[in-house]
Assembly symmetry: C2
Homo-oligomer: 197 residues x 2
């Protein structure tokens, strides 16, 4: 329990927060995004529906918080080696996209995001912006060491790394396992350092 | 009009084929995947619903044919240069994922594909397998010329190129324009040739 204010200025009950998110993740894995309802979550979390609606404007927001936003990366290390930093990035994205609840939710959530500019804007400002900042940090560190060929666009690198792992799991339907992560890290490191020094 | 047999052995009326696909593409751009129904397509194409169901088992199949499968690539050129071949691949995938009807349909179609193993298998056997074969052809050509470092896994390269463009448009919400295509082609070529010869 904390006294942090939240929507409506009520004191935040972190046990209720955690119960709602845990129930949502469990239900995503069990019934999938399409069949998940606020009623089901309320029943599983043993809270009233009002407790959910005080925290989340709707199902998309709740699922986003439970399956995607709650799994953001830690800030990147500065290992002194671009390949090691990239391995960290690739591994973190692969983990965030591979969990059962994320796999159950992400395609339907993406369809909703694409259809709703407000949700898309929120998605871009939170998860995407944070991940982009980490890509920029890793590239800046490499640039300062002289390990990077120039110019490299962080947005393009982000699309390559995030896209490869997304495509592997969701378009090509294979696991983004350690061997795959190693291949992607290796190709990305070669692409970024070729011709440097 | 041709006499090609199709489902049920009936002669194929290519004018009806074309009218159904064109109506589906128009409606995808106008109303989106969620609101598209077989009734709407029949009305717009000025054909009976039975004519659609003789050709497609359901809405997913129809949309897949109209928005994705009908836009497969031509076989790859053998330009004698890996970067040129990659530019062709990147450009073709970018075009196939950028059209208004594809953008209106693909996220919802992907959600359906992920939720239905039969649809997913069909998707993998057609669109994905064909594109994969093109990636393999391009890599084989480069390997025979000695332009490729080894080993390179065609499946990993496919995930990188397809994933980058998919992520650019559908996750990061930017156009996969010529400048972007050039960046991705350049990074892919560097990743694949670094250390060769």
């Amino acid at each position: 329990m904390t006294d942090e204010p939240q929507r409506g200025g009520r004191p935040r009950d972190t046990r209720v927060d955690a119960a709602i998110l845990a129930a949502t993740r469990t239900l995503l894995a069990e019934v999938g995004y399409g069949a998940l309802t606020m009623d089901l979550v309320a029943g599983r979390a043993n809270v009233g529906k009002a407790a959910i609606y005080r925290r989340y404007a709707g199902k998309q927001d709740l699922v986003f918080a439970a399956a995607v936003h709650g799994r953001t990366l830690d800030p990147p290390p500065d290992s002194g080696d671009l390949r090691t930093d990239l391995r960290w990035l690739v591994g973190g994205i692969a983990r965030s996209l591979s969990s059962p609840e994320t796999r159950a939710a992400l395609p339907a959530l993406l369809a909703d995001v694409t259809a709703d500019d407000d949700v898309a804007d929120r998605f871009m400002r939170t998860f995407v912006a944070e991940e982009r900042a980490y890509v920029e940090t890793i590239l800046d560190q490499a640039r300062r060491r002289g390990d990077l060929r120039t110019p490299v666009d962080a947005e393009v690198v982000h699309s390559l790394v995030l896209g490869a792992i997304f495509a592997r799991i969701y378009l090509l339907r294979k696991p983004a396992d350690k061997a795959y992560q190693h291949e992607v890290t290796d190709l990305a490191a070669k692409a970024l350092t070729e011709g440097a020094r």
